[in-house]
């Protein structure tokens, strides 16, 4: 057997010490009639070599973003991951440890989480960050639950420009709770402050806005935040952490809570998970924050150390009245994000953000030019690294297929989520895309 130790002689000695007649005897407390009388019906066991060969075969049946050129976005992005991130996170002392319940035996992880929290507060302009949640959508849902509890109100207002999956997760989470979800249409690709002003009142617990939004469009965050706060609602900003290399921090335009998908910060695409739910808040909301929090303290000799703190918020103590049910979080991905931010630094992040901006603007312009009038920008407001074009011929699926045939993951049809924009085409460009890849995409679509 693969990872077992006990020789037949060991097993006999152990059974004798236990006072058990046989291995079967060890299961005496499982009533016989409940036992499985047959073997499980599973595929046969593979040796390491067989597994490796088989897995490689399966992997070869996928066309990865190393083979295809990726212009896909929609909440997951093909950003560059410095080698340092993979190398350091692959240390067994990090990835084979667990939640740092015993601070003295987990100083490495605790300090790394403390540093992650500090980096996130500095990135977002918030006061307090937790040590991670599952992903962007569940972080957004948790922020909404926090807002309902903190305000005692029941209305949640968000625009249609918020990531559709976030909205779906929110609907799932709120399905059996006393809350009302109000979704504001965004026909111009972003939420108009006037529309928000109409929709918020003293019943509004929170306003949740994504920036850049699902269409890549930048929302009018300062105006939206002040409208929300004017009626006592909490303002939740869902952000792209890379964009904060150049964009104003949510703390600087009045957000109360920030959530984000942290996949962009040094984490592989891995078909959607595991990802990193980022969540940070202002100080008065600290005791309502879900998830683990590492705190700094001292030992009895006055030495600086770290410990999981404010644990009375959590499920293992407060049970049904906990701020959330979360236990296992995304620790390894938080570590990767901390390493990523440490190695990128302020200048590196600024460069990554700037390259995303330049390149996506370039591709948007060139696709329109190359299309001979077929493609046009869908929305007027400025974008960051992602954008929507409208296909006047209404055949977005064909564009995507043509791209794929030429080796490009050429964006996604927006109609998949928005029937009203069946002619919409969503593309993303990260710092990894080159001029020749972008020109290649334009060339392969030019003849259509």
């Amino acid at each position: 057997m693969a990872y077992l130790f006990n020789t037949p002689e060991d097993q006999q000695a152990m059974l004798a010490a236990i006072g058990a007649a046989s291995l079967d005897d060890l299961f005496a407390m499982v009533p016989r009639e409940l036992r499985l009388a047959r073997e499980l019906d599973l595929p046969p066991a593979l040796t390491e070599m067989e597994l490796w060969h088989h897995a490689q075969k399966l992997a070869a049946q996928n066309r990865s973003c190393r083979e295809l050129v990726c212009f896909l976005g929609g909440g997951a992005y093909d950003h560059f991951v410095p080698a340092v991130v993979d190398q350091l996170a692959a240390r067994g002392e990090f990835y084979t440890s667990y939640t740092p319940y015993q601070a003295e035996a987990s100083k490495g992880n605790l300090q790394a989480f403390f540093e992650y929290q500090t980096l996130i507060t500095r990135l977002t302009g918030m006061d307090v960050s937790n040590a991670s949640l599952y992903d962007g959508a569940t972080a957004a849902a948790e922020a909404v639950l926090l807002s309902l509890a903190a305000t005692g109100r029941r209305r949640v207002v968000l625009p249609e420009s918020l990531h559709p999956a976030y909205r779906q997760v929110l609907a799932t989470y709120l399905a059996h709770l006393d809350a009302e979800l109000v979704t504001l249409p965004t026909p111009q690709g972003s939420l108009l402050p006037d529309d928000l002003a109409q929709a918020v009142d003293e019943q509004t617990a929170c306003v949740l806005v994504q920036h850049p939004n699902f269409f890549g469009v930048l929302e009018e965050m300062p105006a939206l935040a002040s409208l929300a706060k004017r009626c006592g609602a909490l303002f939740i900003a869902a952000v792209d952490p890379i964009s904060l290399g150049i964009l104003k921090r949510p703390g600087d335009y009045g957000a109360d809570l920030v959530v984000a998908e942290g996949q962009s910060l040094g984490n592989p695409l891995q078909y959607g998970g595991p990802y990193l739910g980022i969540m940070a808040c202002r100080e008065p909301l600290m005791r309502r924050l879900p998830g683990r929090i590492a705190g700094q303290t001292t030992d009895r000799h006055g030495r600086t150390c770290y410990v999981l703190t404010l644990q009375t918020r959590e499920q293992h103590i407060r049970r049904e009245r906990a701020t959330s049910n979360i236990c296992t979080n995304q620790g390894l991905l938080a570590l990767r994000a901390a390493i990523y931010l440490a190695v990128m630094g302020p200048q590196g992040l600024r460069e990554a953000a700037t390259l995303c901006l330049y390149k996506s603007r370039y591709l948007a312009r060139r696709l329109v030019e190359a299309s001979g009038g077929r493609l046009a920008p869908a929305f007027q407001r400025p974008t960051f690294k992602e954008f929507v074009l409208r296909d006047r011929s209404g055949r977005v699926e064909a564009l995507v297929e043509q791209g794929l045939a030429a080796g490009y993951l050429a964006g996604v049809p927006l109609g998949r989520w928005y029937p009203q924009w069946a002619d919409g085409w969503l593309l993303a460009v990260t710092e990894q895309r080159t001029l020749s890849e972008m020109e290649g995409l334009c060339a392969c679509l030019a003849g259509m």
């Binding site: 060991d10 067994g92 992880n109 540093e115 964009l247 590492a294 000799h301 906990a322 990128m344």
Partner: protein, 491 residues
């Protein structure tokens, strides 16, 4: 050999102008940012992150890593967490570009190999559970609980039944009542008997037409298999409710018995525990769920379907509770679970549980006369010893023992859980430990219980720091680094 310079915080190591990563010059036309973006959205300066050179970052995190205990370096008998060996072959597979570098919105036709793998994983989990329908979506065990309870709520809503309560025993993980509350139910506690089994009289008292689900961990958090499980299931089903199995302890019963066969309608797996996905310092996990065919229509989207043309993601399921996360489940962890299951096969899995139970019982037999196990002299894959007698006689607590174990080079067991055992030490050795390791651990405990209480109260003595002042940490929380703190003098 400690490098205290390198493990100062990133912010103390930071020096203006340093950087670890340089990106290429733009190969497209550049412009001033304010020409491309409105001034009111632009930051005045880049975010105030730390500024470090690449070798700084490497030395910092490498040294930090050495300040952890881990499965790769130490025996880690943390009860309820199944800290088993994390196979390196699984890591290599999960990092194959053809599995790791896949975008979640790629067309199904470009990810057929991965979908086949995940489809096979779901089928294997269904067989192990004895429940036919599987969702791979949930990100962790607690997320699996929430997802399952939302499935149950949708089921009852569709049937027009108003059921508002979820029951769980007092020995349950805190996630059970917390998940119930998040799903909109009222959590109700059912008492345990002194043996740690469900008190059937109390269950009968609390079971009524309002009860949607009874959440049970079996084997329970005391490491005991509740032999009444079928009776419990009949009682709950008789009242129109559902049985949820918290699968945290599946490592005890793989191929021995199946939740679906003993009455569970729904359950979750903890892939990071049972199926060796590494714990990652606190995650990621993966908490796939398996449910009965009655509940299958409500499973979250997406699901994988096998058709004549190949595998595809199904999003359009009218009775589904919807999405529970941004994209497909924690695929990286699921791939490792698939590797684990394919490595073991049916016989191998049964052997895993057999050896896990053998190891736990052996360790129990070696320490029960110094640390009594109130639930008896047999267990499944883990057991809960009590330091209550030691506490009464010599003032030595479970925490003292846990901390002293660190000095002996062992990670501590889970302490003070479950709350129904006084001075609890919850010990789960797992199957991937040798008799020699178990003996060394038992020997250490034998020595520790004879050591002077004063020595134990201040343990650990060999770690970088002694016990943190948790009162200070909670009264005056410092959750991020601030420059106002005096910089320690350079050594």
């Amino acid at each position: 050999m400690r490098n205290q310079q390198a493990t100062r915080t990133l912010f103390e190591l930071s020096k203006p102008g340093l950087r670890g990563c340089r990106l290429p010059e733009p190969d497209v036309p550049a412009a001033a940012l304010h020409e491309l973006l409105p001034a009111e959205l632009l930051a005045d300066a880049p975010p105030p992150l730390a500024e470090l050179a690449e070798p700084d970052v490497v030395r910092h995190f490498t040294n930090l890593s050495t300040q952890n205990m881990s499965v790769d370096t130490h025996f880690y008998p943390l009860g309820s967490c199944t800290m088993k060996y994390n196979p390196k072959r699984n890591e290599r597979v999960a990092q194959l570009a053809g599995l790791a570098e896949l975008h979640p919105l790629q067309p199904d036709t470009t990810v057929q190999g991965l979908l086949a793998l995940l489809y096979e994983l779901a089928a294997m989990l269904a067989e192990i559970a004895g429940l036919p329908a599987v969702s791979l979506q949930p990100a962790a065990g607690a997320h699996g609980e929430l997802t399952s309870l939302l499935v149950a709520a949708a089921h009852f809503r569709r049937r027009g039944e108003q059921r508002t309560k979820v029951l769980a025993p007092d020995s349950a993980h805190g996630t059970n009542p917390a998940s119930a509350a998040m799903a909109g139910f009222t959590a109700v506690t059912v008492q345990s008997t002194p043996q740690g089994f469900v008190d059937l009289d109390d269950l009968r008292r609390k079971l009524d037409g309002q009860v949607a689900v009874f959440m049970i961990t079996n084997p329970n958090t005391l490491g005991m298999f509740d032999p009444q499980i079928r009776v419990i299931a009949e009682m709950v089903h008789g009242a129109g409710g559902l049985i949820y199995l918290d699968g945290a302890n599946m490592n005890a019963i793989l191929g021995i018995c199946r939740p679906g066969d003993f009455g569970a309608d729904m359950m979750h797996f903890n892939c990071h525990k049972t199926f060796s996905g590494p714990h990652g310092g606190g995650g990621p996990g993966a908490g796939p769920i398996a449910v009965s065919s009655d509940l299958a229509p409500y499973l979250p989207v997406p699901l994988i379907e096998r058709t004549a043309e190949g595998y595809r993601l199904v999003l359009d399921r009218p009775h589904s509770i919807g999405r529970v996360r941004s994209f497909f489940g924690n695929v990286g962890v699921l791939i490792r679970a698939w590797c684990y299951l394919r490595t073991h096969g049916a016989r191998g899995l049964r052997e895993v549980s057999t050896q896990a139970v053998l190891n736990a019982n052996y360790l129990l037999s070696r320490i029960q006369h110094i640390l009594p196990v109130p639930q008896g002299n047999r267990c499944m894959h883990e057991f809960v010893a009590s330091a209550a007698r030691l506490k009464a006689e010599r003032g030595v607590s479970a925490m003292d023992i846990a901390k002293r174990l660190l000095d002996y080079g062992f990670h501590a067991p889970t302490v003070y859980f479950p709350p129904i055992v006084k001075e609890a030490l919850m010990i789960e050795p797992t199957e991937t430990e040798s008799k020699e390791t178990l003996d060394a651990f038992a020997d250490a405990l034998h020595q520790i219980v004879q050591e002077p209480p004063e020595l134990l109260h201040h343990a650990p003595h060999s770690t970088l720091h002694s016990r943190p002042d948790e009162v200070q940490a909670a009264r005056h929380p410092v959750t991020s680094w601030h420059a106002t703190r005096p910089r320690p003098a350079s050594p």
